[in-house]
């Protein structure tokens, strides 16, 4: 897959993983993995990027005697998901057209 495309898709995937409930790094990797190739190392820059673009916020929760970072989606992150959805319904329409059988 095109690198830029993949990066954009991964960003939205991560946002989707925290869309309905806050989540933490390891769980996000597990949730996204069925759909896209993602590792702990590839997730890290994505989380940083999303945070600096204000699409998610981070907070720490105590868990089994250690601190675990949780990620919460912001309104901007939700908007990003929405625009992804709109963009891709267009792309799907084009796809149907391109692959139609005469």
């Amino acid at each position: 897959m095109d690198v830029q495309l993949k990066r954009g898709l991964l960003d939205v995937c991560v946002l989707a993983a925290i869309k309905n409930e806050d989540s933490y790094g390891y769980k996000i990797v597990k949730d996204v993995r069925p759909f896209m190739t993602i590792s702990e190392s590839t997730l890290y820059p994505i989380l940083r990027r999303l945070e600096s673009s204000d699409m998610l916020t981070v907070y720490s929760v105590e868990h089994n005697g250690r601190l675990r970072k949780y990620y919460r989606i912001t309104q901007k992150g939700l908007d990003r998901i929405r625009s992804f959805r709109d963009e891709w319904s267009e792309i799907l329409a084009v796809y149907s057209f391109v692959t139609r059988e005469e």
Partner: protein, 198 residues
């Protein structure tokens, strides 16, 4: 490799980064390893699933280039105002310029009138050659009203020559005036750039 070794190696890999960034890396991977262990697996397995040190080194390098385009969403406006306004006239020069306006203003007017008269010349040339064309056409037409054949030929010849000559000269003058306009635009832009700096 156990967790401690891994984190120490990570600290080495992030040594060149700012302290809080390096610390974030360590926190992240430490948490990841702990979660991996919690989900089932040994410490060694958890550490191994983080990737090889080479891979992590590559990722860190890729993402630490001063938070370049790989880590930031492209901002809508990437415009960075020029730091060094080397082309712009310094403030004192502008002040001197303003104070000296009794000197340069009349000169400007003089130059402006020269410029306008140049255009007047161009316009009159257009008019002159335009009328030559008209004359040429008229002569060619009236040639057919001439009494004798030689007269007809002479008139027609002269008329056609005038028409052709006029057309050629019109083309030449319009080409020249086009260049003249371009030159004027260039002059104006240069002057504006002197004050704006770009």
């Amino acid at each position: 490799m156990n967790k401690l070794q891994f984190l120490n190696q990570l600290r080495q890999l992030t040594a060149s980064l700012p302290k809080d960034e390096a610390e974030k890396y360590v926190e992240y991977y430490s948490e990841m390893i702990d979660d991996a262990i919690e989900e089932g697996g040994t410490e060694e397995e958890a550490v191994a699933s983080m990737g090889t040190p080479e891979e992590i080194k590559a990722y860190i390098k890729e993402n630490s280039g001063g938070h370049s385009k790989t880590t930031e969403y492209p901002k809508t406006s990437q415009y960075v105002p020029q730091q060094n306004k080397s082309n712009k006239l310094p403030v004192w020069a502008i002040v001197v310029l303003i104070c000296c306006f009794p000197i340069w203003l009349p000169i400007c007017f003089a130059l402006l009138s020269v410029y306008i008269s140049l255009w007047a010349v161009v316009i009159s040339l257009f008019a002159a050659f335009g009328s030559i064309i008209v004359v040429g056409i008229a002569a060619s037409v009236s040639a057919f009203f001439c009494g004798s054949f030689p007269q007809l030929l002479a008139m027609l010849g002269a008329g056609l020559f005038c028409t052709g000559f006029g057309l050629v000269m019109i083309v030449a003058v319009s080409a020249f005036s086009k260049q003249f306009v371009r030159f004027t635009a260039f002059l104006v832009n240069s002057i504006i750039r002197l004050f704006r700096g770009y």
